[in-house]
């Protein structure tokens, strides 16, 4: 029995990040009384993220002070079922957020749209290459929603962020200088692309000479003063070099606090409760609906918040965890391959390529921004012919200049020792003369990569930890190697380059590790689709088994695309909210026939 039961609210929203605050904004304006439960604290760009205090590499980049508290909760990890999963005792490979704004505070602002073919992954590949083309060990699926359906929502979120970039496909017209592979946009980017430093300029020129199609990084680092559709006012980016892992005190990186929270916080239908950790979603007696959520409040009391609608807006992994501990949906069993919750967890392949310049090229790496750089998308998705390659998927190649923070930014040529006199000299000699490239790739889902509950370890509330079983499928290793080699070729073709080094975290023969940071792009586990046997939610983000539970975020992705997830998942969020507002509210029911 809970310590107290509160009056019923229309909508309870679990998590105060990008999707949770957006759901509250849209539903509160629809007359729905919304309560957000956020496990972390209040914080604000002006008062919490201002320089110079925010520009503390040790505190925020190494100690990850804006992120979740692993003392209270983490997950266990193993590469495959033959191993004993052990707790991820320290944050490393990925950095989920905590507190107002969630991980949307410390993102880089790399703002992508999915390719049309990404969203119809299985049918697209089968149509183009034949029914047998997708390797058998992959559980790749269509998303159940198309690019054309998402386009207005992707477009709107770009306006919320004040995205900076150059359209490569404006209503079907391909335009050099933008991403000619992208799906058609109905509008230009709201703001012009970012300025470019010398590193990415040289990369872009080399790529162009090679017949590739370079374009500026699509960015939520705003380039001029801008007011978004909610009335939030953003300022131009200072290129300060403290973006990812940091909050932005300049009002320049679009984040959920300034873009959404500030515009809804005074609304009569809006309430947010901090230090409120949801324990479980409660189900009705017949199991068809949820009745609300039980959470531990700031005073440590167990509180039941009844609600007509439950929105699950936690980080991808924790949405899945909450379903498993609440008994929502049917857990996935890798032996029988039945059940859906925890199925199709996937990640992202990350490789890096370093180009070292002659000394007259001075890159000033500390002049950076989270989405500063130039992209080559020719080897992403199905933008290139896969016929003879033996894999599906791809990666974008970015020459980026995020930061020159000196604990983390220590470029050294191949063969340099990891420490000692030679290392010290190499860091000093290359710090100002280096271009940093990333190969940011897709990751396909497989029957053996999944999420479930750990039998041994628990969180601070006594609930079993989430257990992650994951390794890169061979498909991804082949893909990552192929595109990394393309990136090396570009690096070798850059002017004034003296040497090139590369390192691939999804290389053939190496296993996925939770230790070095790769990317906070964990996806899947509660995927969307049109078949209730292979998806947790329908194409509107509504749970098949409990029609008043709507699920948001990257946990919906059936496999990971080569891009960063925030753009796609926010497109999905607005898509879900459109159907929730315009269809479900008036007539609550399953929006798709099972």
């Amino acid at each position: 029995m809970p310590d107290k039961t509160l009056p019923k609210t229309d909508v309870v929203i679990i998590g105060g990040g990008w999707t949770g605050l957006t759901a509250a904004y849209e539903l509160a304006h629809e007359g729905q009384r919304c309560v957000i439960l956020e496990r972390g604290n209040h914080r604000h760009d002006a008062t919490s993220f201002g320089a110079p205090e925010e520009h503390d590499e040790l505190k925020y980049a190494l100690r990850a002070t804006h992120m979740m508290d692993v003392r209270k909760s983490t997950l266990t990890f193993r590469n495959d079922t033959s191993q004993r999963a052990l707790p991820m005792r320290r944050l490393g490979s990925f950095l989920p957020g905590e507190g107002l704004g969630g991980a949307g505070i410390h993102w880089n602002g790399q703002l992508w749209r999915p390719l049309p073919s990404d969203l119809e992954m299985r049918s697209h590949y089968e149509n183009r290459y034949g029914a047998q083309f997708i390797p058998e060990d992959l559980s790749v699926q269509d998303w159940g929603v198309t690019y054309d359906e998402l386009e207005p929502h992707l477009d709107f979120f770009e306006k919320i962020c004040g995205a900076a970039g150059y359209a490569g496909n404006l209503n079907g017209e391909k335009r050099a200088g933008g991403n000619v592979f992208e799906g058609p946009r109905q509008n230009e980017y709201p703001n012009p692309a970012m300025k470019q430093p010398v590193s990415s300029t040289k990369f872009g020129k080399a790529a162009e000479r090679m017949g590739l199609n370079p374009f500026p990084f699509p960015s939520a680092n705003v380039t001029q003063k801008y007011e978004n559709p909610y009335g939030a006012q953003l300022h131009p980016c200072a290129y300060c070099g403290f973006c990812e892992r940091f909050g932005c005190g300049y009002f320049a990186k679009a984040d959920p606090i300034i873009c959404v929270y500030d515009r809804i916080k005074e609304h009569e239908n809006f309430e947010i409760r901090f230090q409120s950790t949801v324990m479980r979603v409660e189900k009705s007696a017949d199991g068809r609906t949820a009745t609300g959520v039980t959470y531990i409040d700031a005073d440590g009391l167990e509180v039941f918040q009844p609600a007509d609608i439950v929105c699950m807006n936690a980080y991808a992994l924790w949405n899945v965890h909450l379903m498993l501990v609440s008994g929502l949906g049917e857990p996935y069993d890798p032996e029988t391959r039945t059940g859906t919750v925890g199925r199709n967890y996937s990640y992202q392949t990350i490789a890096s390529v370093d180009a070292f310049f002659e000394k007259e090229i001075i890159t000033n790496p500390f002049m950076g921004a989270g989405a500063l750089g130039v992209i080559v998308d020719d080897y992403n998705g199905d933008n290139f012919d896969h016929s003879d390659l033996g894999f599906v998927g791809g990666a974008y190649i970015a020459c980026k200049q995020y930061h020159g923070r000196p604990i983390s930014y220590q470029p050294t040529p191949e063969g340099t020792p990891r420490w000692g006199a030679e290392w010290k000299r190499a860091v000093r000699e290359n710090y100002l003369h280096h271009a940093d490239m990333v190969v940011h790739g897709s990751s396909m889902s497989t029957p053996g990569n999944y999420l479930d509950l750990d039998p041994t370890w628990t969180d601070a509330y006594g609930r079993p930890l989430l257990r992650m079983t994951f390794n890169f499928p061979d498909n991804d290793r082949k893909m990552a190697e192929y595109v990394t080699n393309r990136a090396v070729e570009i690096a070798q073709n850059m002017e004034n380059v003296t040497s090139v080094a590369s390192s691939n975290l999804a290389a053939v023969g190496s296993d996925y590790t939770v230790v070095p940071y790769q990317t906070t792009h964990n996806v899947g586990g509660a995927i969307m689709g049109t078949d209730r046997n292979t998806s947790v939610v329908n194409r509107y983000g509504q749970m098949w088994d409990h029609h008043n539970v709507f699920v948001f975020g990257a946990c919906l992705f059936p496999q990971n695309l080569g891009y960063n997830p925030t753009g796609p998942l926010m497109g999905l969020a607005y898509w879900t909210l459109e159907h929730l507002k315009n269809d479900y509210l008036a007539n609550p029911r399953p929006l798709m026939d099972a």
């Binding site: 320089a51 110079p52 520009h55 503390d56 590499e57 040790l58 505190k59 100690r63 692993v70 003392r71 909760s73 983490t74 990890f77 193993r78 590469n79 191993q83 004993r84 052990l86 707790p87 005792r89 320290r90 944050l91 300025k195 470019q196 430093p197 010398v198 980016c237 200072a238 290129y239 300060c240 070099g241 007259e360 090229i361 001075i362 000033n364 500390f366 002049m367 950076g368 500063l372 000196p406 604990i407 220590q410 990891r418 420490w419 000692g420 006199a421 010290k424 000299r425 860091v427 000093r428 710090y431 100002l432 041994t456 370890w457 628990t458 296993d511 996925y512 590790t513 939770v514 230790v515």
Partner: protein, 233 residues
């Protein structure tokens, strides 16, 4: 623990003649010299100075200990990091694969304390030993080929110490290392006051702004004013 001693004396007495002359001058917390370390014992501080200077030796730029890294590590171990603030510490503990990361049953401060003691016992001549020996031992530790006993895996110990040393050399000087902006001067990082809107697209132009840390006062070196407790994290 009985560690009432001058940190200057400890650090001065530890290495070869060349470094000896430089240390008392460059030591980061001259104002605190009469106070004990927060966490480290005399022997641990000596060991760490030798170890850190093997990782980041003196050249045209200061060595790790000259740049205050031992003071930095002392503060880190005494503070939340050392106590396990950034770790999930619920048992049971099992040895895992490299891919599963830190599985030591001790928080970092205690792990490092026990690790140093075991290493000092295995290699008693390390602190104050010649460069060749120190390089050899450090290399073996980094490869995990030193047996320090159960519960004290060598490679994680090396990784912990190397990350601390590297961080101490380059973190904001308010944490006690990077003294007089040694690390930032070395690479050319201008520091916490960062506004490059007019310059990011100026290609190949040096930006020789002298570093400024978070607590920078014009004319000072970015460390905490003496008498104030340095930042713990």
């Amino acid at each position: 623990m009985g560690q009432e001693f001058s940190r200057r004396a400890v650090l001065a007495g530890l290495t070869s003649g060349a470094a000896l002359a430089a240390l008392p001058v460059n030591h980061a917390f001259a104002a605190l010299d009469d106070k004990p370390f927060y966490f480290l014992t005399r022997d641990e501080a000596r060991f760490l100075a030798s170890f850190c200077d093997t990782l980041i030796p003196e050249d045209e730029y200061p060595s790790a200990s000259q740049a205050g890294v031992v003071d930095f590590i002392d503060l880190q171990l005494a503070g939340p990091y050392g106590k396990g603030r950034y770790l999930y510490m619920q048992g049971p503990f099992f040895e895992g694969t490299e891919q599963q990361g830190y599985q030591v049953s001790l928080p970092p401060a205690e792990f490092i304390r026990q690790g140093i003691a075991a290493l000092a016992e295995a290699e008693p001549r390390f602190a104050g030993g010649d460069d060749g020996l120190r390089l050899l031992v450090t290399t073996r530790l980094s490869e995990g080929s030193v047996d320090l006993g159960s519960g004290l895996p060598a490679k994680p110990l090396f990784d912990e110490l190397w990350t601390l040393t590297n961080s101490g050399y380059f973190a904001d000087p308010m944490y006690g290392g990077n003294k007089s902006y040694a690390g930032w001067e070395m690479v050319g990082f201008p520091g916490a006051h960062a506004y490059y809107l007019s310059f990011v697209d100026q290609h190949n132009v040096p930006y020789p702004q002298p570093p400024m840390g978070i607590n920078h006062q014009p004319g000072r070196d970015g460390s905490m004013p003496s008498g104030l407790k340095p930042q713990e994290l």
